[in-house]
């Protein structure tokens, strides 16, 4: 009996609270104004290199008079390549990839022409892809590689170098450039 009375009391108190407590009334006097808002989100592309590619494209133990020497990270014939590029996840457009070199490989006054330096590209990789059969020689202007890739896809790369007979010994260097442009746009030298 006491329990019922207590429950009844609580219910009555709750109802009374709702009825008695002051409620905030809806305003009658109002004044309204409006404006537009517009946000322009820019095209944003941020290219990234694989860790191995960040350390450089290295050809070790080259011999003169040899062709199609694999770069150290190619893993050609044994596994996927360690060289790839992609764009960051906040890149907000699909992209086309471009590649070029700044000039011949040089060591002091000696050079190896860019026509001896090759690359191949693919959106997938395994022991044979990218394939040597698809190689292209570097140029000093950008060449377009795969197109229309989104920010979840990688562009996989392999590099080969021919060393002409009689090439003077030394460490030869140049710089390779990568570029991602909005899909359908031209590479910008």
């Amino acid at each position: 009996m006491m329990k019922k009375l207590a429950v009844l009391g609580i219910v009555a108190f709750a109802i009374a609270s709702i009825l008695i407590l002051p409620q905030k009334g809806e305003a009658v006097v109002t004044s309204n104004a409006s404006t537009t808002t517009s946000a322009t989100v820019a095209v944003y592309i941020a290219i990234q290199l694989s860790p191995t590619l960040q350390t450089g494209i290295v050809f070790s133990n080259l011999q003169q008079g040899t062709t199609d020497n694999n770069a150290d990270g190619n893993n050609y014939g044994s596994g996927g390549t360690d060289y790839w590029i992609n764009v960051s996840e906040d890149t907000n457009v699909n992209v086309d990839y471009c590649i070029k070199a700044d000039g011949p490989l040089t060591s002091g006054s000696n050079t190896i022409a860019l026509s001896n330096y090759y690359f191949a590209n693919s959106t997938t990789t395994d022991a044979n892809t990218p394939s040597l059969s698809a190689k292209k020689a570097f140029t000093t202007s950008y060449q377009k590689m795969d197109t229309g890739l989104d920010n979840t896809q990688n562009e996989y790369l392999r590099f080969w170098l021919d060393v002409p007979a009689g090439q003077a010994p030394g460490t030869y260097e140049n710089t390779v450039y990568f570029q991602a442009v909005e899909a359908g746009q031209n590479c910008v030298d």
Partner: protein, 297 residues
């Protein structure tokens, strides 16, 4: 002989004096009650009270609302002749000039009657403090008066020209960072402000989005990614931002604002990482309401 004549003259003067005194006493006997009545019968007007249509005493009204003025008027002889009223607006224009108030027939005590007058506030009437004067006179032309005031609440908000032209976020990068509206002027004085006009009451100010998303053809950004900071004292606006919602109640940007207050605003937009490029659009709505009341969506 001469002495006898003087005595007769003295006697005559004495008789005339008695006669004059008698007449004065008679006149006093006749008029004294009237004088007393004159002094006691002066009417009295109690302080008038203003009511709304449901006869709840109210001091603040809105345009379109009926103001019922009631005054208790007493008179010892209960011979009130007329009760009249003046209602003057804040611009000192007499909206009601010496109009007769209606005898409601309701008693407010011994020899006391309630008089009433109704005035509906017009849509063009000004906001502010209005004055009410009530006069009463009796059949002896004795008068009494009393006064009160009521307020008419009128609120309007005015956007600065840059704010009217739109809140624009230009060249935002989709890098999961905030993009700041161009009118913020960085850390400088903002071009976005709202001027409050509040007559007869104070105002609360609110903002909301007109839809749930900023949209382009096929992409969207939640409207709550737009955040607003506000200040009534610092035109450079402190950097405490709150998200905007789709209900005014979610976007209070000023409270208990007095007439003439300027609310300074800054906006920023959180652009999610990888948000597609494009121009996204929506609308922002602002509302000023009478202080203490809920906004109306």
């Amino acid at each position: 002989m001469c002495h006898k004549g003087n005595l007769k003259m003295m006697e005559k003067i004495k008789q005339l004096s008695y006669l004059f005194l008698s007449i004065v006493l008679l006149l006093l006997a006749y008029f004294l009650p009237k004088i007393t009545e004159f002094i006691l019968a002066t009417p009295f007007v109690y302080k008038p009270i203003t009511y709304n249509e449901t006869y709840v005493a109210v001091e603040v009204f809105e345009r379109g609302q009926k103001v019922i003025v009631r005054a208790n008027v007493s008179d010892d002889l209960n011979d009130i002749d007329q009760v009249r009223i003046n209602i003057t607006d804040p611009n000192n224009v007499k909206k009601v000039e010496f109009e007769l108030m209606t005898d409601t027939g309701e008693s407010c005590g011994t020899n006391c009657t309630i008089y009433e007058y109704n005035y509906t506030i017009q849509s063009t009437d000004p906001g502010g403090t209005w004055e009410v004067w009530v006069w009463a006179n009796d059949s002896y032309d004795n008068t009494a008066s009393n006064s009160t005031t009521f307020k008419v609440c009128v609120i309007s908000i005015s956007l600065s020209s840059v704010l009217s032209n739109g809140v624009n976020f230009d060249g935002c990068s989709p890098t999961g960072e905030y993009c700041y509206a161009t009118g913020n002027n960085g850390d400088g004085v903002t071009d976005y402000n709202i001027t409050i006009t509040a007559k007869g009451c104070n105002a609360d100010l609110y903002v909301k989005g007109n839809q749930s998303y900023l949209t382009t053809d096929s992409q969207q950004i939640p409207i709550s990614n737009i955040e607003v900071a506000y200040s009534t004292t610092d035109s450079t606006v402190p950097t405490t931002y709150d998200p905007i919602g789709t209900a005014f109640s979610q976007g209070a940007i000023g409270s208990n604002l007095e007439d003439g207050t300027v609310v300074y605003l800054k906006f920023r937009l959180y652009v999610p990482s990888g948000q597609s490029a494009g121009t996204y659009n929506a609308g922002l709505k602002f509302q000023g309401v009478q202080n203490g009341y809920s906004p109306v969506d």
